[in-house]
Subunit: 340 residues, 2 copies
Amino acid sequence: MTSKATIRDVAKAAGVALGTASRVINKAENVAPEIRQRVQAAIDALGYQPDVLAQSMRRGETRTIGIIIRDITLPAFAAFVQSAQEELEAQNYVLMLTCSEDRPERELSLLNLLAQRRVDGLIMTGCSESDSKLLEARGQIGVPIVMLDRVAHDSSDSMLMAHADGMQKAVELLIDLGHRRIALITGSNEVHSGRDRVVGYRRAYRNKALTVDNSLVRARDFRGESGYREMTELLATDAPPTGVVAGGIAMLPGVVRAIREAGLSIPEDISVIGGGDSDLARLATPPVTVIRWDYAEVGRAAAKILIDRITGSDDSAPRQLLFPTELVVRQSCARPKLQA
Amino acid sequence: MTSKATIRDVAKAAGVALGTASRVINKAENVAPEIRQRVQAAIDALGYQPDVLAQSMRRGETRTIGIIIRDITLPAFAAFVQSAQEELEAQNYVLMLTCSEDRPERELSLLNLLAQRRVDGLIMTGCSESDSKLLEARGQIGVPIVMLDRVAHDSSDSMLMAHADGMQKAVELLIDLGHRRIALITGSNEVHSGRDRVVGYRRAYRNKALTVDNSLVRARDFRGESGYREMTELLATDAPPTGVVAGGIAMLPGVVRAIREAGLSIPEDISVIGGGDSDLARLATPPVTVIRWDYAEVGRAAAKILIDRITGSDDSAPRQLLFPTELVVRQSCARPKLQA
DNA sequence: AAAAGTCAATGAAACGTTTCATCAACTCAG
DNA sequence: CTGAGTTGATGAAACGTTTCATTGACTTTT
């Protein structure tokens, strides 16, 4: 019963033509007040609701936005998605959520899936900025795309965090405390969020006139288990680090767990800085110093710019928005035990 | 160019009728092998992909599932959504994600939104089991609904956690340790997940032949800030609790924060048990004892049963699946300081 | 008073499918 | 050799909209 009444029924009930009913519904002008009223009455009486499917088909838009996120389970991403969703909902768009698990083949099939679903736009955080298959698939999709923490090499817009800045501050903090062996664990070099952190790390070392030990820089992938694995490996070496920055957003838990399991304590044995704030970082004992940024704000911005692109109200060159990061100092960092 | 080719083009290219092309595409029988091949060749050559919109319109199904979750930011819910999404994706469904923030008026408007979008089914965790407006809206929607942690009073299926069991074990643990003033903070009485915890709490007290102090039972709503507020309030009373169970899934952070701010330490001054496992609970110092259940499994089950309802392969009476909870003992509970 | 111009309403066409009643061709039994 | 039966292809109709070229009724201009 819900949306059984069609526009035809409305027209008939109001004694007007199909097209007229449509014009009333779409608030077009050029319709006599008396007629408008009659049609409106019919709409109310029948409880008419337009069929979104038929509208989409005719109009060629679905009012649907696709999102490909690595893993919705990470609170940071969830915050991003949530605020983007709110913004979109306000503009009468709806979100189709998918997760790539940071796996290229999944990303590819999700791109196809969403293309076939005819989303009006796409927000995504890809596995790679350069993979040619993915690049092609993104190009083929033919709708505006906003990339999260990825540099777009095509016409997409990018929302970039200033990871290098944050990382530099973090590493300099550790260096100033006397640390010389500082490990960096972050994601793949193929994407901005991984690469930029390494840039910041090296910049800090250069600033302090120190040289980087490349074996301490681990930039493989973003999956959560990597944090644990890399940290365990690092701690097992002859010269383990005295400080570590868990750059990837999902890595702090694994890194902390590895440290605990090695029987070390924070910050006495090893100093820790996390990438991205979280309940865990805030409420751990000791609370963990983190590089913070506001994904919720980024989500809103992404939604806004995407809508502007869709409506065509922004047809300027691809944008690269840079969002600030800040270092939130808590109690997880201290001077290293044995000064080098 | 992507999906520009229509079935008409395919038919023309293959030199067959529209209907024939359609039959090939839909793998219908009764089509000569030679023709099938020719059509297939045309499909490949043109890169034809069916227009999902037109299909939906004609078939009367959208292959889209709506989900209304309280807050995607909570990792537990995110895990639920993620596993549901995976299961649905495998069956070629796609998820439309919305968040109600536990606010009835939002829930109502989201129900309407998703109804208008013609979702084929709905997974949701409502604000109330009894609110008549919401009940009516759910009834009107006309598609199968699976409720998460809510008892459905209509034809919907319910996925229920055995909160009472878990809570009983939790409270009995505290009682056995010698606690007599145990606070319970959980969500609204209007829903299973709130109510059932209170049931378990009372059962534990009855089992141990103790009487409940109702001022220690706080079952208002599920929002995160409530955890902090209620805990702060409880600690400010003349006879503060010596143990607390943070029942609601979002409440542990707030409760812990309130305790920290009161200058108390866990478990020396107060014992804490959380509802739902999390990174925070696992990695806090000390690690927090929790009532655990597996939302990922629930998500899969919800998706499965929903699909069965949609396809009509399950037309039995509404189901109420009960999922087990277990008590995971960590180090956040100890004997109370001053024995009562 | 005729011509030209406005303003609103009309109804057919189109969007890209699926489905279904026909139809054509062929096979086989009598 | 005819009539019935079977198999497979056909093309129109339908799903519920929006849009657009027409049309009809008025109004204004010459």
